[in-house]
Symmetry: C2
Subunit: 172 residues, 2 copies
Amino acid sequence: MKRTPFSRWPCSVARTVDILGDWWTPLVLREAFYGVRRFDDFQSALGIGRNVLTQRLGRLVEEGILERKQYSEHPPRSEYRLTEKGRDFWPVLAAMMAWGDRWLDGGKGAPVVLHHSTCDHDTEAVVVCSHCGEPLGIRDVRAALGPGYPERLRDRALATGRFDDAGAGSEL
Amino acid sequence: MKRTPFSRWPCSVARTVDILGDWWTPLVLREAFYGVRRFDDFQSALGIGRNVLTQRLGRLVEEGILERKQYSEHPPRSEYRLTEKGRDFWPVLAAMMAWGDRWLDGGKGAPVVLHHSTCDHDTEAVVVCSHCGEPLGIRDVRAALGPGYPERLRDRALATGRFDDAGAGSEL
C-alpha cells in the first residue's frame, strides 16, 4: 500500500504521523520507553518481522528519535537508545494510553498502570494548557494559523473558516 | 499490506493504534475536531480517496468515535459528529501536535497555534500527572501490570523485568 507523504503538510499532527509511518512504530517506541535497546529484544517483545523491525528502527534513527550505539566490537553489536527528541515523545504515548484505558479496557481495568515516582502515586496522563494548567478540551480551543503556515496557502486555509489568523503576532 | 491486529493486546497503546488503523484516521479526526462533518468536506480538506475515506469513517462510527446523523431526507444526506469518546481523543492529537511543533517545525514556527478560550491565551498541550499535576517525563515513571492484564500472561511479562506487579491492589 503506497502511503501519502504527510511530512511537508503545514500541520504538526500530519508531520508526526508521517514519521511514525505505520502502527508498528509507536509500539517499537513503547518498548524503547520500557527500556528495550537490542534488536532481538524488540523482536521478541513484539513478535514483529525482522525486516519490518529493521526498517522501523532505521527510520527512527534517521529522524533522530533513536540513536544507534555499538556496545561490542567482537562480535559487532549495536543497541538503540532514545534521544532527547525520542524521550520527549513519551507523553504522546502516555496520553494515548490514558484514552485507551478509559475507552478500550473492556470493563477489566487498565492492563498497565503507570506509577509516578516524583509524587509516589499511580498516575494517568492528563493533557493541560501550558498557560493556565487546566485540562484542554476540544470545546475550549480555537485553532489559528501560526508563523509556520506557508504564506501561499493562508488565504485558502482561512477561507475554510476553520482557522483564526494569528500570524506572526501570535503570543506563543 | 496485511496488518497485525492489536485490539486484544494487553496494552492501551496497542488497542488505540488498532482503532486508528492507518495514518489517515488521525487526520480525519483532526478535521472532525476542526468542525468538519460532511463527507465532501472531509474529502476536499484531505485530498483523500473516497473509498479510503468511506472505510475510515465507517470504522470510526463502528468504534463509537463518530456518529452518523441524517440531516436531509430528500436527498438523503448524513453528517459525522464526534461522540463523547471521540471528543475525548482530542488531547492525544493536541499532545502529538505539541511534539511536532517542537521537533518538526523546520525552524519556521508552529504551522497552527491553539488558543485556549478558558484562559484567553495561546497554548501548547502539556501532559501532566493526574495526581500531582507535574509534567510526566519518561524517567519519572514506572510501568506496572494492572488489573486488566491477563492472568495467563502475567508471569511472562514480569519475567521481562519491564513491569512492576501492581495487580488488583493498585491505587488507581
